[in-house]
């Protein structure tokens, strides 16, 4: 059982506040979806949890299994079992995917790393994600389509076997088939590993494949409403406009609205 606790976290970048007293707890087996308008701090949240040095933590803590990880380096957090599937995975010229993935897995396994089981697992996951086997010899994400890049993120997730997965708009740039493949594979991994998931998305479609146990609406760097899948329906119908008005920001208003719909 693993727990990620974000407590009263305030984060700035170049003096501008992005996250404001943000609080959230995710446990193994839970899938938390965060939705919200553009520029509200959702991607920042995932990067801050992962330790991106671009952002400055002004106050608050991030705890993983009770240990304060706020000051840990990015790779130390990854070794604890955190994984971030990025919205725009970068391309690395000159580094083959094979070389990169081997370095990634051997960094995790250290002396226990064995090449043959690695290749076997890699082949299996590539098939599972319906990826082209040639991608393994190409440079990391270089010339990859949007779908290929996102599948490459999920491939890394499978190889690293994280216990807490952060997925930042993993559905952006995916066609319907790729969306299904990515969605089904994330769900399969979650069921198999019982990992916790924090999912950032704008669209209901992904949530039909990766069914969230908790849904949160984030506006101006904080959660303004939490609920279950019904909250997704509410947003789909009403948008975020009403929530942005101060008088309806409290979660109870949303609940009342929902009750009226029902």
């Amino acid at each position: 059982m693993h727990t990620l606790e974000i407590k009263d976290l305030t984060v700035t970048v170049e003096g501008k506040e992005i996250l404001s007293s943000f609080t959230l707890t995710i446990k193994s087996g839970e899938i938390h979806a965060i939705m919200g308008p553009n520029g509200t701090g959702k991607s920042t949240l995932t990067k801050v949890i992962m330790g991106d040095p671009t952002y400055r933590v002004e106050k608050g803590t991030i705890l993983f299994d009770g240990e304060d990880i706020t000051k840990l380096s990015v790779d130390e957090r990854a070794h604890l079992g955190l994984f971030l599937g990025m919205q725009s995975p970068i391309a690395i010229e000159g580094v083959s995917n094979a070389d990169f993935l081997r370095t990634v897995v051997s960094s995790k396994e250290g002396k226990n790393f064995k090449l043959f089981p690695f290749i076997k697992e890699l082949d299996q996951v590539i098939d599972q994600l319906e990826m082209d086997h040639d991608m393994i010899d190409r440079d990391v994400n270089q010339g990859f389509s949007g779908g290929e890049r996102k599948k490459n993120e999920i491939l890394q997730m499978y190889l690293l076997k994280p216990s807490m997965v952060l997925l930042d708009e993993i559905d952006s740039g995916l066609d319907v088939d790729s969306l299904r493949i990515v969605g089904e594979n994330v769900t399969a991994y979650q069921k198999e590993s019982q990992c916790g998931i924090l999912l950032i998305t704008h669209y209901r479609r992904l949530l039909e494949y990766i069914h969230p146990t908790h849904v949160h609406i984030m506006i101006d760097g904080k959660i303004v409403a939490s609920g279950d899948f019904k909250l997704v329906d509410y947003v789909e119908k009403n948008g975020y406009e009403k929530m942005e008005k101060k008088e309806v920001i409290s979660g109870t208003c949303i609940v009342k609205e929902l009750a009226r719909h029902e």
Partner: protein, 264 residues
């Protein structure tokens, strides 16, 4: 593969009939020794070039309609070298050069003499000393193509001055010129890039990019988020920087070995 090895003024070769060469040695320290290579048919050539304090001029002439790949391994110490390429119509030269521990002055001159003449130049350089590199690319005919990509890493006392000048005179319509110059600076010295495009014709495509710096925070964050340490991530990025564009296995291996040696 054809091979010519130059060590100071000693030249050895193992070549096919697709090319020929001659050496004009220098008679005193002020004279420039010349190596003249004629490529008559499409082929690949390895050129191993090691020189200390000698001055060399290497002239490479390519026949019409010939595609050639030249893999150059250069090790200069206080040397001066000048490469001159003469590329006629419908001919292509791909010039891959890897050099390490250089303290040198070097000039690369390419003359694109006929329609369809194409010059691709890829430099991979680990610089530990003072180095001056000058490229002069002349589009002397319409519809000619040049593509210059220089990837340089400075370490220890490495200090590089890189100048790349491309000339497209009036009338050279349909020509395409591209320059991409990057220096990863890990020494305390200041390096410099001077990219120049002298274009007198409107109907051409010409572009350049120049960058001096270190690895981006974004790249390091991505690799480290996979559990790779900062040191290992830097090594991987450096290797990628020097291996990009290089498909030849032998050259890749040599670059990888140097990277391991310089970046433990």
């Amino acid at each position: 593969m054809n091979r010519i090895t130059v060590v100071d003024e000693n030249v050895e070769s193992n070549i096919s009939s697709k090319l020929s060469f001659q050496v004009v040695p220098s008679h005193n320290e002020f004279e420039i020794a010349r190596l003249e290579i004629q490529i008559k048919k499409s082929c690949s050539l390895e050129l191993f070039f090691t020189s200390s304090s000698k001055r060399w001029k290497i002239v490479i002439e390519v026949a019409e309609g010939v595609d050639s790949k030249i893999y150059c391994y250069q090790n200069l110490l206080n040397g001066k070298v000048q490469y001159r390429f003469q590329i006629p119509q419908k001919s292509t030269v791909e010039f891959y050069k890897f050099q390490g521990i250089a303290s040198s002055k070097e000039m690369v001159e390419a003359h694109l003499l006929g329609e369809g003449a194409t010059f691709h130049s890829f430099l991979k350089d680990i610089s530990k000393e003072k180095e001056t590199l000058d490229y002069y690319i002349y589009h002397d005919a319409p519809k000619t193509v040049s593509n210059i990509r220089n990837n340089i890493v400075t370490v220890e006392e490495g200090k590089v001055t890189l100048q790349v000048s491309t000339f497209i005179p009036k009338g050279m319509v349909g020509s395409i010129a591209s320059q991409n110059n990057r220096i990863l600076n890990f020494s305390d010295k200041k390096s410099e890039i001077r990219p120049n495009l002298y274009v007198e014709e409107y109907d051409v495509s010409a572009n350049h990019s120049a960058l001096i710096g270190r690895f981006s925070e974004e790249e390091l964050f991505y690799l480290m988020s996979r559990g790779i340490s900062e040191k290992e991530a830097s090594r991987l990025l450096l290797k990628g920087f020097l291996l990009s564009d290089i498909t030849n296995k032998k050259m890749r291996k040599k670059i990888e070995l140097s990277t391991k040696k310089e970046w433990r």
